[in-house]
Amino acid sequence: MRLSREDVLHVAWLARLELDDAEVERFTWELNQILEHMEKLKELDVTDVEPTSHVIPITNVFREDEVEKPLPREEVLANAPDATEDAFRVPRIVEES
C-alpha cells in the first residue's frame, strides 16, 4: 500500500501540524519508506510468536488508592495562555465526534 499526498495531509491534520508543500512531499516519501520496511518485516514467519505490546518485561505496576496534595490553582493556571480566575479559557471548538 502506498500513502498518497492526501493521506499525509490527513495525518498532519489529526496531529494539528501545518505542513508546506515541500514538507508534504518529503513526508510522503519518508512515510512510504517506513511502510515499505514494514512490508519487508511481514516476510518473517511469526506463527509461534506471541504478540507484544510492550518491550520491557514488567507487569502490574500499581499505586495504592491514596490521596496526595494537588497543585495550588495559581500554579496550575500560571502558564496558561488565557485563563479566568479559576479556569482555563480556550477558543470554542466545534467537537469533531
Binding site: V67, K69, R73, L77, I93, V94, E95, E96
Partner: protein
C-alpha cells in the same frame, strides 16, 4: 409494515476511588474548579501515569458480576483525539483487550426473564468539564480539569434491548448492581452515571440490523427513555415515507422532546488507538481473580429470596427492601437488634419511606440510623410510648439524630398507664358529653370509641388506649 427497535447502551460510571486513575489527586465532587489537579492529570510533558490498583479491582468486580469473560492479560491503549477536554490530546482507555467481555445482565419484564448481552466492560479515565460561553462575539470554553483522570468503568451492551420497558429495567438493574458492588455512587445529577444510546429500526421478525443513530449525553433515566422513544418515532416516520436513515449523532432536546443532530464537522472517527507505552501490561492472576470473586456481595435477587425465606417477609416487601443495598443493610442491622422483621419492614416501608420521599433522597442518604429505629420500637414494645406518639418520635429522630429515649424524656412523651391519673380525665370527658352518654345508655356501643378518642386527644396521644378503653366502660356503667 411493523418495525421493531434495536437498542444498545453505553454506560459510563465514575468509580468510587479516593484518588484518580493515574495520580494521587482527590476525586471529591463539587470542589472549586481546577483545585484537584497535578502535572499528571493536566497532561504535562514528561509525567508518567501509575495505575490505581483499586480502580482495576472495581472494574474486575463489575466484569465478574456481569458474567463476563476476563482478559487475564490486558493493556491500556491511547485513544487519540484533539479536543480541549483532554489535556494530553489522548485518553487512556482500553480497546482490544478490555478487562471483561461477552457477559450478560438478567432483567425481568412482565414476569419474563431476559439476559441482555454485555459486549465489553473496560476501564478508562474521565475528561475535563467544559463550559461554553460568549462575550462580545468571542466564543470560548472554560475548562475545569478536576474531573480529568477520574477512573470510569464503561459498560457496552450488545444491541439486544427490544423495548422501552426492557431499556428501563436494564438501567434500573445495572444501577442497582453497581450500588450493591459499592464501586460507584451512581449519582446521575452529579454526572457519576451517564448514558449514550444507539437506536435502529428493522422490520419485525428480520434479523438484520438497520442504520444506527447514537444519542449522546443522557444523564437521567427520564432523558434516556424520552430520547429513545422520540428517536424511534422519528425513524419510523422516515422509513414510512420511504426515506433512508442517516448514520449520525444526536442530542436530546428535553424542552421540545425531540432528538437533534449534534453540531459536528462531518469527519469520521479516527482515534488511532495504540498500546499505551507508559503503562506496563496488567496480568490478572488466578489468585487475584479468586480474591475479588470471593469478596463480591450477595446480589439483589439472592438477597431478596433470602429475605423471604429467613424473615418470612412477603415477596413485595422483600423486593422493596432489597431494591437498594442501603435499605437492605438498614433492615438487617435493625433486625439484628430487634428480632421483629415484619414490624421493622413496615416502619421502613411506610413511615421512613415517606420521610425520605418528602426530602427527595434515597436510603443511601437516610439520616436515620437502624439503631434509632430499633430503640424506638423497643420503647413501643415496652409500652413506654403509644403507637401514635411513636410516629412523632420517629420524625423527631429523623430530623435531629437524637435517640428515642432522649426525645421521649425531653418532650415528656411517656405513655400514661396510671389509672389514678387517667380516671379524672375520663370523668371530665363523660361529664362534658351528656348526649353521648345518653346514646350509650340506649345501647349504642359505638360511642365508646368517641370517648376513647376524646381522652386520647386530651392527653395528646399519651394515654394507653387499652386502659382508657377499660376506664371508659367502667365509668359509663357506673353512671
Amino acid at each position: 409494515m411493523e418495525f421493531e427497535p434495536v437498542i444498545g447502551l453505553e454506560v459510563h460510571a465514575e468509580l468510587l476511588t479516593k484518588s484518580k486513575m493515574f495520580c494521587g489527586c482527590p476525586t471529591k465532587f463539587g470542589a472549586p474548579p481546577n483545585t484537584q489537579t497535578c502535572p499528571v492529570c493536566l497532561g504535562f510533558p514528561g509525567v508518567l501515569p501509575v495505575v490505581n490498583k483499586k480502580a482495576i479491582e472495581y472494574v474486575l468486580k463489575v466484569a465478574i458480576a456481569l458474567n463476563c469473560r476476563i482478559n487475564r492479560h490486558t493493556i491500556f491503549e491511547r485513544k487519540n483525539y484533539y479536543y480541549p477536554d483532554l489535556p494530553k490530546a489522548y485518553q487512556i482507555s482500553q480497546k482490544r483487550l478490555p478487562l471483561g467481555y461477552d457477559g450478560w445482565l438478567e432483567i425481568e419484564v412482565d414476569g419474563e426473564i431476559r439476559h441482555i448481552g454485555i459486549a465489553d466492560v473496560h476501564i478508562e479515565e474521565d475528561t475535563g468539564k467544559l463550559i461554553h460561553g460568549e462575550e462580545g462575539g468571542f466564543e470560548f470554553s472554560l475548562i475545569d480539569y478536576n474531573r480529568s483522570g477520574i477512573p470510569l468503568v464503561e459498560i457496552v451492551t450488545k444491541p439486544e434491548i427490544r423495548s422501552l420497558k426492557e431499556l428501563e429495567e436494564f438501567m434500573v438493574a445495572l444501577r442497582q448492581l453497581l450500588l450493591y458492588l459499592e464501586v460507584s455512587d451512581c449519582k446521575m445529577e452529579q454526572g457519576s452515571l451517564r448514558f449514550e444510546a444507539s437506536v435502529s429500526l428493522r422490520p419485525k421478525g428480520s434479523s438484520e440490523l438497520g442504520t444506527r443513530v447514537e444519542i449522546k449525553n443522557l444523564n437521567s433515566f427520564k432523558a434516556v427513555l424520552g430520547a429513545v422513544e422520540a428517536e424511534i418515532k422519528r425513524q419510523q416516520q422516515l422509513l414510512m415515507r420511504g426515506e433512508k436513515i442517516q448514520q449520525q449523532t444526536m442530542l436530546w432536546n428535553e424542552k421540545l422532546r425531540i432528538t437533534e443532530p449534534m453540531r459536528t464537522k462531518e469527519t469520521a472517527h479516527d482515534y488511532r488507538y495504540f498500546p499505551e507505552p507508559d503503562i506496563p501490561p496488567i496480568v490478572i492472576t488466578d489468585e487475584w481473580l479468586e480474591n475479588v470473586g470471593k469478596n463480591l456481595p450477595e446480589f439483589p435477587k439472592q438477597r431478596m429470596q433470602r429475605f423471604v425465606e429467613q424473615y418470612g417477609l412477603p415477596i413485595q416487601d422483600a423486593k422493596l427492601l432489597t431494591a437498594s443495598k442501603a435499605s437492605a443493610d438498614f433492615f438487617e442491622r435493625c433486625v439484628s437488634m430487634l428480632q421483629q422483621p415484619k414490624t421493622v419492614a413496615n416502619w421502613m416501608l411506610t413511615e421512613i419511606q415517606s420521610l425520605l420521599h418528602d426530602d427527595q433522597i434515597g436510603w443511601e442518604d437516610c439520616p436515620l440510623k437502624p439503631e434509632q429505629l430499633a430503640g424506638m420500637l423497643k420503647l413501643l414494645n415496652d409500652g413506654v410510648i403509644s403507637g401514635r406518639i411513636a410516629k412523632s418520635v420517629l420524625e423527631e429522630m429523623y430530623r435531629t439524630g437524637k435517640d428515642a429515649q432522649t426525645i421521649v424524656n425531653e418532650m415528656g412523651l411517656v405513655q400514661i398507664t396510671d389509672e389514678a391519673q387517667l380516671r379524672p380525665i375520663v370523668d371530665r370527658v363523660i361529664a362534658e358529653n351528656p348526649d353521648a352518654v345518653e346514646k350509650f345508655r340506649k345501647g349504642d356501643e359505638k360511642v365508646l370509641g368517641f370517648f376513647v378518642g376524646q381522652v386520647m386527644r386530651a392527653t395528646k396521644g399519651r394515654a394507653n388506649p387499652q386502659i382508657v378503653n377499660k376506664l371508659v366502660r367502667e365509668l359509663l356503667k357506673g353512671r
